[in-house]
């Protein structure tokens, strides 16, 4: 009963929920984009490595 009687004091939580959802979505979205950028960068490095290796092989050819 005491909890119910003081429920009005916590009504702000209902107003904070949309903010929390938006913030969570932003964090998730940023982490995902950073992860994607990281993996893109990783692919680029691999490709560059392959190019460099290829170039090296080419240079080694007689």
């Amino acid at each position: 009963m005491l909890v119910v009687a003081h429920a009005g004091h916590y009504i702000w939580v209902l107003y904070a929920i949309p903010v929390a959802i938006v913030l969570a979505s932003i964090v998730r979205s940023i982490l995902r984009e950073r992860g994607k950028e990281g993996s893109d960068a990783g692919h680029t490095t691999d490709a560059e490595d392959r190019d460099e290796a290829g170039q090296g092989q080419a240079d080694a050819r007689p």
Binding site: Y15, P18, S29
Partner: protein, 470 residues
């Protein structure tokens, strides 16, 4: 303000509690947030180039400009301003001490402070021609020219680093006067018509000193609180004066150039939001903490007026700090998208987007106060400014029709104002982001944080209104 007036006007934001709303009040916050999210997605998908950055000022016909902007109209408008200033001081000093029957209280805090914001947003810098201090300084300067045969030079040049800080300081002082000094507590009304008249005289002396030292136009542009404050809202208007010509421009476009790297501008925008926030919170969400602090400071219940003022000062400071922290946290988040600009510079670049929020907060919090009190202003307060029983225009018997709008109607206006204000802010933010980041994808990413700020300010505004009106 409503704390002061509510004792005598019985009207805070609504007279009676709302009834039979189709959904709970908190669900309006969810719906408003949804509108903002949809607007954000729509902007990202369909808005690919800045539209508000270019001025696109189109002068009206020369004859229209000349008819509205000439020495005669300037003199007349200035005379009206000086007359109203004189009435404020006269009725404040000579009139009744009852704030609801004295012209001064309603005129200063409702007609002038709130009405001039509406006029500025609709018609541009409406206060400029009516500014009584400018008119008096102009007359004195004209007299000097006549006698000395030359213009009176400003003794000092205005320090650039001061920017708009004097105006921001004045805004805090005005907010403190109405919300803290005027806070009645449980004992007495602190802000009487007499004290408002005295404050007006003190501010007039301060303004004349500022204009005398730094020059009239310089002080009006940077230091005079009301000119700068109303000018900030006028930057949203579709009308403006440039190089002496009246003209049209794209609504909101003036705001993109208002901050312009001038120190103190960002703080001025945030202070405008924070002061309204505190007024709303003081009636609801913060009412209990404020009275608890005041009672513990006074060591008695009810608290003394002095303790109440200290407690209100503390919470006004905390509210300002909260709004500033919210803004700078959002800007810092935006900074993480690309580290080209400093956080401070980014804040200056995006602060103009918060001017519509300051306007939305004002409309949401004071719409009903203006609606009801202007009925008093233009009936019995006009005919009987001193409250001594006179009837100059035959309207002294008029009253306030509190049934002019229902409590639910007021709530819908409040929700609508907050949603429109924040969507407008999102548009301005997105538009600026396209300019700053050049790339639509980066611009959209930077505006994630702006979206969070908008949802935060919308939910905060609706929460405060629901608590104040509940």
């Amino acid at each position: 303000m409503t704390d002061l007036l509510s004792q005598v006007l019985v009207v805070g934001h609504a007279l009676v509690g709302r009834q039979d709303l189709p959904i709970p009040e908190w669900l309006f916050a969810w719906a408003a947030s949804l509108v903002l999210i949809i607007s954000f997605v729509a902007l990202t998908l369909a808005w690919h180039r800045p539209r508000f950055e270019a001025a696109r000022f189109r002068p009206l016909r020369e004859s229209v400009s000349r008819a509205l902007l000439n020495p005669l109209t300037e003199t007349l408008a200035g005379a009206v301003g000086v007359f109203l200033l004189a009435v404020v001081v006269w009725s404040g000093l000579e009139g009744t001490e009852a704030p609801d029957r004295n012209f001064t209280v309603t005129f200063v805090f409702v007609t002038f402070w709130l009405g001039m914001v509406v006029a500025s947003v609709l018609f541009g810098d409406a206060f400029h021609p009516f500014n009584p201090w400018r008119a008096i300084a102009g007359a004195v300067g004209g007299l000097f020219r006549l006698v000395a045969g030359q213009r009176a030079p400003a003794p000092l040049s205005y320090p650039e680093r001061w920017g708009r800080w004097p105006a921001a300081g004045g805004l805090v002082a005005f907010g403190w006067l109405e919300l803290v000094y005027g806070q009645a507590g449980f004992q007495t009304v602190g802000l009487t018509p007499q004290s408002i008249a005295t404050a007006t005289l003190v501010y007039s002396a301060y303004t004349f000193a500022g204009m005398g030292v730094f020059g009239r136009e310089t002080w009006l542009e940077r230091g005079e609180t009301f000119s700068v404050y109303f000018g900030m809202f006028a930057s949203l208007a579709p009308l403006a004066v440039e190089e002496g010509r009246l003209g049209r421009r794209r609504p909101l476009s003036g705001a993109t150039r208002w901050v312009a790297g001038i120190p103190g501008s960002v703080s001025l925008v945030l202070l405008a939001i924070a002061i309204t926030t505190f007024d709303g919170a003081g009636e609801g969400a913060l009412a209990s903490p404020i009275s608890s602090l005041a009672e513990s400071l006074a060591g008695q219940t009810p608290a003394t007026v002095g303790a109440t003022r200290i407690a209100n000062t503390v919470f006004l400071g905390l509210t300002i700090a909260f709004v500033f922290a919210l803004f700078w946290a959002g800007i810092y988040g935006m900074h993480s998208v690309r580290r080209g600009d400093t956080t401070r510079r980014l804040g200056e670049r995006f602060a103009h987007a918060f001017i519509p929020i300051a306007l939305a907060y004002l409309v949401a919090h004071y719409f009903s106060l203006v609606l009801f009190q202007e009925q008093a202003q233009f009936t019995f307060l006009l005919s009987d400014p001193l409250g001594d029983g006179s009837d100059i225009f035959g309207t002294a018997g008029g009253g306030i029709d509190y049934g002019a709008i229902s409590a639910n109607g007021i709530w819908y206006v409040q929700v609508g104002a907050l949603v429109v204000g924040h969507v407008t802010a999102l548009v301005l933010g997105h538009d600026r982001a396209l300019r700053v980041y050049g790339d639509t994808r980066l611009a959209a990413r930077s505006q994630y944080w702006m979206l969070a700020l908008m949802v935060g300010f919308t939910s905060l505004g609706l929460y405060l209104l629901s608590q104040a009106n509940g």
